[in-house]
């Protein structure tokens, strides 16, 4: 239990090549500064699980060759169009894609949260998502009558990685309404959070803030990374940097442009 704030690189040190890492959606507190730090370190072969979808973070990691497998309901740049490096990787067959649907990811992560091996979910029957997921099963509802239902195995990530507004010196992290961060922190073996700033005092001692706080019990390390979600938004703090995302979409359309983006905005930023 050493959740006292660390230097960013030190906080990320335990995320080894090949780790299964769960990350939040575009609007839900993406640890972009940490993602860039992992790329500078040359992280490889990640098994990325998006809860439930991703945008720039997955595209950047995939484009840089850091992802072996992605389990997701979608990767897209939203208003800025398709995610170009994700698309290229699928067409070029350089990553393993495990197509899912949003609630299947939530449910599988919730199964890990509960410590149960699987969880049922409605829907999916008759879809090709199910057809291409040999790890998913259909059973006849044992409490019903001729009622097929899908079973999903628990997803137990090695790490949850996200960015939030603030943490205290006890490693408690305030997430407010972004409760998927709580779910992933409960499910993952270890959780690493970056935050905008440190909070004086103990978040759990405040009756208002404690309800939106991930207890330090679940957090392995915290690092302060101001504007750590940039260029993605951190709701209640700052909006997305639309101009930058448009520039990313333009550059990442080609492998050469993407390499230039990495040089300018990932590798060169260490000194900044």
């Amino acid at each position: 239990m050493s959740a006292v704030p660390r230097d960013l690189d030190e906080a990320l040190a335990n995320i080894a090549d090949g780790a299964m890492v769960v990350v939040p959606p575009d609007y839900g507190g993406v640890a972009m500064e940490a993602t860039r730090a992992l790329l500078r370190r040359g992280i490889a072969r990640l098994h990325l699980v998006t809860l439930p979808a991703s945008s720039l973070q997955a595209d950047l990691l995939i484009g840089a060759g850091a992802v072996a497998t992605i389990e997701t309901s979608a990767v897209s740049l939203g208003e800025f169009g398709p995610a170009p490096r994700f698309t290229a990787a699928i067409l070029g067959k350089t990553i393993t894609m495990k197509d899912a649907t949003c609630p299947a990811l939530y449910a599988s992560i919730q199964a890990a949260e509960k410590g149960v091996p699987f969880i049922p979910l409605r829907g999916l029957i008759g879809s090709d998502i199910l057809k291409h997921r040999p790890d998913w099963r259909v059973i006849d509802n044992p409490f019903g009558n001729n009622d097929p239902i899908v079973l999903l195995p628990a997803i137990k990530p090695d790490f949850a990685l996200f960015h939030a507004g603030m943490a205290d010196r006890f490693g408690n992290v305030f997430i407010g309404r972004d409760r998927e961060l709580m779910t992933m922190a409960h499910a993952a073996a270890r959780t690493i959070a970056t935050v905008e700033k440190l909070h004086d005092g103990n978040l759990l001692e405040d009756p208002f803030l404690s309800a939106g706080t991930v207890p330090g019990f679940y957090i392995e390390t915290v690092a302060v990374a101001p504007r750590g979600a940039w260029p993605l938004p951190l709701l209640d703090h700052y909006p997305a940097d639309g101009a930058h995302l448009a520039e990313y979409a333009r550059l990442a359309a080609t492998a050469e442009g993407f390499a230039r983006y990495l040089d300018q905005h990932v590798h060169a930023r260490k000194a900044a």
């Binding site: 959606p25 575009d26 609007y27 839900g28 809860l51 439930p52 979808a53 997701t72 309901s73 979608a74 990767v75 897209s76 939203g78 208003e79 398709p82 995610a83 994700f86 699928i90 067409l91 067959k93 197509d99 899912a100 649907t101 949003c102 609630p103 299947a104 939530y106 449910a107 919730q110 979910l121 409605r122 829907g123 999916l124 029957i125 008759g126 879809s127 090709d128 998502i129 199910l130 291409h132 001729n146 009622d147 097929p148 309404r177 972004d178 409760r179 998927e180 709580m182 779910t183 260029p231 709701l235 209640d236 703090h237 700052y238 909006p239 997305a240 940097d241 639309g242 101009a243 930058h244």
Partner: protein, 250 residues
């Protein structure tokens, strides 16, 4: 000049399709449905509840992203919207890929919540602005979610309509077929047939989609557009001329 944009007409059509319900949820990449839902809520003085994914202000959920799906699973989401890289005449939607799944020719972002919400939300309104033989196909390459299921499959929900830039189709869940309900101003039935890759039913006389009223247009432009800009700044700028918030300011 008609005095309204195609996006405004489609949002108006969707407002009528939503009807009188308690809870409308709007997912990813759905600015036109979001416009419709927010406009309807304004007109209804706060009814229906609107859950706009990615929004802080227009989203009441406090239990994370899963709450939308839990809520829908209980039957507490009345209307949702889905699109597709391909949509076929049986209401199957494809958000994944074209060609062999293992070696696709085209890859789309992914299925998002469709593999579940299409089954459990009573009124799913399909929208696909581009109405062409490329998007409206005889048979989708990949079924992200089927238009219908066998009798014994739990399926309280499914498609009720498909809105495109050319027309409005309704969906008959028993026949598993689309029916042409109206053609938008400036388009013809011949256009629709020419540009649709699947077979559909139609009455002898196909009405023209009514234009949005001045009241609805004012509501969208003056009240809804600024609300929309939180989640869809690019759309709000392109369609309604709203300035995008400076991203670098705190």
């Amino acid at each position: 000049m008609p005095g309204f944009l195609p996006e405004e007409l489609l949002a108006d059509v969707i407002m009528r399709l939503i009807g009188d319900v308690r809870h409308v949820a709007v997912g990813n990449a759905s600015p036109i449905p979001a416009t419709a839902a927010l406009a309807l809520r304004e007109r209804g003085g706060g009814k229906p509840y609107v859950s706009l994914l990615g929004s802080r202000r227009h989203m009441f959920f406090t239990d994370g992203g899963r709450e939308l799906f839990d809520c829908a699973g209980q039957g507490r989401v009345d209307v949702f919207f889905l699109s597709g890289g391909e949509i076929d005449g049986a209401g199957n939607i494809n958000l994944v890929s074209i060609g062999d799944y293992a070696q696709p020719n085209v890859r789309f972002p992914g299925s998002f919540g469709s593999g579940y919400l299409y089954y459990v939300v009573p009124k799913v309104i399909l929208f696909r602005v581009e109405h062409s033989r490329r998007t409206l196909v005889p048979r989708v390459s990949f079924i992200s979610a089927p238009g219908g299921n066998a009798e014994n499959v739990h399926r309280p929900g499914g498609p009720v309509a498909l809105v495109t830039n050319r027309c409005l189709f309704s969906f008959d869940r028993t026949a598993k077929r689309f029916r042409l309900d109206s053609v938008h101003p400036g388009h013809t039935v011949a256009d629709v047939i020419e540009n649709t890759g699947f077979d559909f039913d139609r009455p002898d006389e196909v009405p023209v989609t009514p234009a949005p009223s001045a009241e609805t247009l004012a509501l969208m432009r003056e009240v809804v557009a600024p609300q929309l800009a939180e989640v869809y700044p690019q759309f709000a700028q392109r369609v309604f001329g709203l300035k995008v918030a400076a991203a670098s300011s705190e």
